[in-house]
């Protein structure tokens, strides 16, 4: 609190002044006093945020950092074990590597596909058609349903052995398989679900596309640039800040994916750990296997990996993101 200091600032030494100066200064002083007066009030209003920040974010984060160096089973007090959890993760835990593999594949495959689809659809929707609002809403809808458990359950039905997807394939005489319970395909049903929910980046792309200057396109059209050229030479370069924004957000999001993996595999991460996304493994360790210390260590590694990816993104962005100022 800086109440005392501001009072001092306000109390300037009296200087000889004309009456009008004096009145002016009094008025200033009253106004300042009103603005700064009762200095604790703003903080009182901010208090819930501070309590949330320190109580629910900073303190628990630091505590989980501590826990990541302990053996903690939730039920009995934690035992300090040093870096054992981290060593175990990298040297003795094959499931950890399974989960890293599944997560990386998921991120690397789903994010580019999702963004490409989002941009493609955004460009299709960026025109003045009758009922365009309806189309936009329809394409955005899957994202609203987002991480919903219900959608994951539907997905499980659609890609199950006797699901809709196989019925669809049967029309073309293709004999399907159980996509969700085969270790070769299960992860890709999750990828497909992620790609299908492309609405959020699409809306952001759409907003970006709306801001692109029309005259540049007109000039390019006059010069005879094809639509493909226009896309690669004008749209994409002008859109890079938006692309960057979406890339960063989607990568972070993809790393944290939990619900669909949990629901579609019945919480098992199976078959053969093929859908054991990192967050799911973390959850299993903490709450099913009662290894909260280990789960905390896993959480910190995830945190660092996400931070690393984001940092790399920001550094790389200097070379490909163009701001027009």
């Amino acid at each position: 609190m800086t109440t005392a200091k501001t009072d001092e600032v306000v109390k300037e030494p009296p200087v000889p002044a004309t009456p009008s100066d004096q009145r002016e200064r009094d008025r200033m002083r009253r106004r300042l006093a009103r603005r700064r007066g009762g200095g604790w009030w703003p903080y009182a209003f901010l208090a819930p945020w501070f309590i949330g920040l320190f109580g629910l974010t900073i303190y628990p984060m630091l505590d989980s950092l501590y826990l990541s160096f302990t053996d903690f089973d939730l039920l009995t007090p934690p035992q300090w074990t040093g870096t054992e959890n981290y060593e175990r993760m990298f040297t003795q835990d094959p499931v950890f590597w399974d989960s890293v593999h599944a997560t990386l594949v998921y991120v690397v495959v789903s994010v580019p596909l999702k963004l490409a689809l989002a941009l493609g659809v955004a460009m299709l929707l960026n025109r003045d058609l009758k009922g365009i609002g309806l189309y936009r809403a329809a394409f955005y809808l899957p994202s609203l349903l987002g991480g919903a458990v219900a959608i994951a359950i539907v997905w499980r039905q659609v890609f199950g052995g006797d699901g809709l997807f196989n019925d669809f394939l049967a029309w073309f005489g293709i004999k399907g398989q159980d996509w969700i319970s085969s270790p070769d395909t299960a992860l890709y049903t999750l990828v497909l679900l992620a790609v299908w929910q492309f609405g959020t980046p699409m809306v952001i792309f759409l907003a970006g596309l709306k801001q692109l200057p029309k005259d540049v396109y007109e000039a390019a059209a006059i010069d005879g640039a094809s639509p493909v050229t226009r896309f690669f030479k004008i749209t994409l370069p002008l859109l890079t800040p938006i692309v960057f924004f979406n890339v960063v957000l989607q990568i972070i999001d993809a790393f944290k994916t939990f619900t669909p993996a949990f629901v579609i595999s019945n919480g098992s991460g199976g078959p053969l750990n093929s859908t054991m996304l990192y967050s799911l493994y973390l959850y299993k360790k903490g709450f099913t296997d009662l290894q909260m210390g280990y789960a905390s260590a896993l959480a910190w590694v995830l945190f660092l990996v996400i931070a690393g990816f984001t940092a790399v993104n920001f550094i790389a962005s200097r070379y490909w993101v163009h701001y027009d100022d």
Binding site: P77, P78, G161, D178, S181, G270, L272, Y283, L290, L302
Partner: protein
């Protein structure tokens, strides 16, 4: 131990959630505890099961409350999925239920961690265990103390779609059947059904339901007597996996995609979806699904057909009712346990929904009102428990499984699946299994 959850420990749990929270809302789904629990004036009771079991519990508890109006009970129930995840979270958050249905497979773990209340002091006073066999009470006994009252006799039996079998012109095997008989009839099912139905669901990864019994027939246990190591040899597991690899090759058992889909999901069980006629998963009966119009029957787990084979079946305690140590209402909880153990109306309400009732008196009470399938179920369970009782070559009943047991079972399941999907050879998977298991049990 006697450790109570302190404010600090509680915060720690929150912190586990919060790191994930800081990274987003990955774990928000599991942070939705009510926080009520032992601070509430009501006694909280929780169980897992099917709708039928929920209704039976509720009906019985309503009767209990008529004669005990002072004990107010708050009931929470769900399926098995996530039941213990929620319980773990609740304990750590200081909102554990007062009374809960406990899994015999997990009771030792929770008892040793000081989560459950020992109830020996109530036995013979407010807890009436008249008619309970000592071997049955062993299911709830950990390190010499009683931590739960068994709800009934639990046996490992196969559930058979008998009418499906008859439709194919096949007869129900004799109860004294062997693994070779199982192989034979499963092949017959596949042949007679024109390749539409496999015989028995893949048991290669089924821990308690079948492999444990197979190991016991070999004279080995699943866990060592002190519960810290595996009790079976690599050779036994190899033989087991080879048996199932052959079963799959002969189409006596379904391909791995079907087995995999059924993991944690009874509605996808091979028998329920009509892809097999025999299943080791006893949960199928009562799960309903597409087999409801079939006449089910029950068989003991097959016997060893080699010389020197021992009786591998055993009897355990169905599910348990346990009180938590942090609860202030242990005495009231014990009254409810006693009620479910002895009260006529409770026994009639529960029928076979928590296993075959544990006492002679209770079995007689419900005998007349049973459905046809229930009668068959009880007859088979009776048969098994009598055979086990008479057997001279049976190993003692298994010790309560140690901490990490559920991870070992999962490893067994996944290993069998890896072999079945052709991702690993049996030899390679064996060494992986025996490499990983000690780490899990030692953790």
């Amino acid at each position: 131990m006697g450790h109570q959850i302190s404010r600090r420990t509680l915060f720690r749990t929150a912190s586990g959630l919060a790191v994930a929270g800081a990274l987003g809302s990955a774990l928000s789904a599991c942070s939705g505890g009510t926080g009520a629990g032992s601070t509430s004036s009501k006694l909280t009771m929780t169980w897992w099961g099917s709708d039928d079991r929920h209704n039976a519990y509720k009906k019985a508890l309503a009767t209990f409350q008529k004669s005990n109006p002072k004990i107010k009970i708050q009931e929470t129930y769900s399926g098995y999925d996530g039941y213990f995840d929620k319980f773990n979270t609740n304990i750590a958050g200081g909102s554990a239920p007062d009374l809960l249905q406990m899994d015999t497979a997990l009771v030792a773990q929770y008892a040793r961690k000081g989560v459950l209340a020992p109830i020996d002091e109530y036995v013979g006073k407010t807890l009436d265990l008249t008619g309970f066999a000592k071997t049955l009470l062993a299911a709830g006994t950990v390190d010499g103390k009683l931590y739960g009252v068994p709800s009934g006799i639990g046996v490992n039996q196969l559930t058979v779609n008998r009418s499906g079998l008859e439709d194919l012109g096949l007869k129900l095997p004799d109860r004294e059947w062997t693994w070779a008989d199982l192989k034979k009839i499963s092949q017959d099912v596949y042949k007679k059904s024109g390749g539409k139905i496999y015989g028995v669901d893949d048991g290669g990864g089924g821990a308690l339901q079948c492999f444990e019994i197979f190991a016991r027939e070999k004279g080995e246990t699943f866990f060592s007597d002190d519960g810290t190591k595996l009790g079976f040899t690599s050779a036994t597991l190899q033989e087991w996996w080879e048996f199932w690899a052959e079963m799959r090759k002969l189409n006596a058992s379904p391909p791995p995609a079907i087995t995999s889909a059924a993991h944690n999901d009874l509605t996808k069980n091979a028998v329920v979806i009509g892809k097999a006629l025999f299943t080791f998963d006893s949960g199928v009966y009562g799960a309903g699904g597409s087999i409801t119009d079939a006449q089910l029957d029950f068989l003991p787990t097959p016997q060893g057909d080699w010389s020197g084979a021992r009786e591998g079946n055993f009897v355990n305690g169905g599910v348990l009712l346990s009180a938590t140590k942090a609860s202030k209402k242990v005495a009231d909880s014990v009254k409810i346990m006693s009620f479910f153990a002895q009260d006529d109306t409770a026994i009639k309400d529960m029928q076979l929904l928590r296993g075959i009732p544990p006492t002679e008196k209770a079995r007689n009470l419900i005998a007349s009102g049973l459905t046809e399938t229930d009668k068959l179920n009880m007859a088979n369970a009776d048969y098994i428990s009598q055979r086990v009782g008479k057997a001279t070559n049976a190993l003692p009943a298994p010790v309560p499984p140690p901490q990490g047991a559920d991870q070992i079972w999962d490893l067994l399941f996944q290993s069998n699946l890896a072999v079945a999907f052709g991702k690993k050879s049996i030899k390679a998977q064996l060494s992986e299994f025996f490499d990983q298991a000690p780490g899990i049990l030692g953790a």
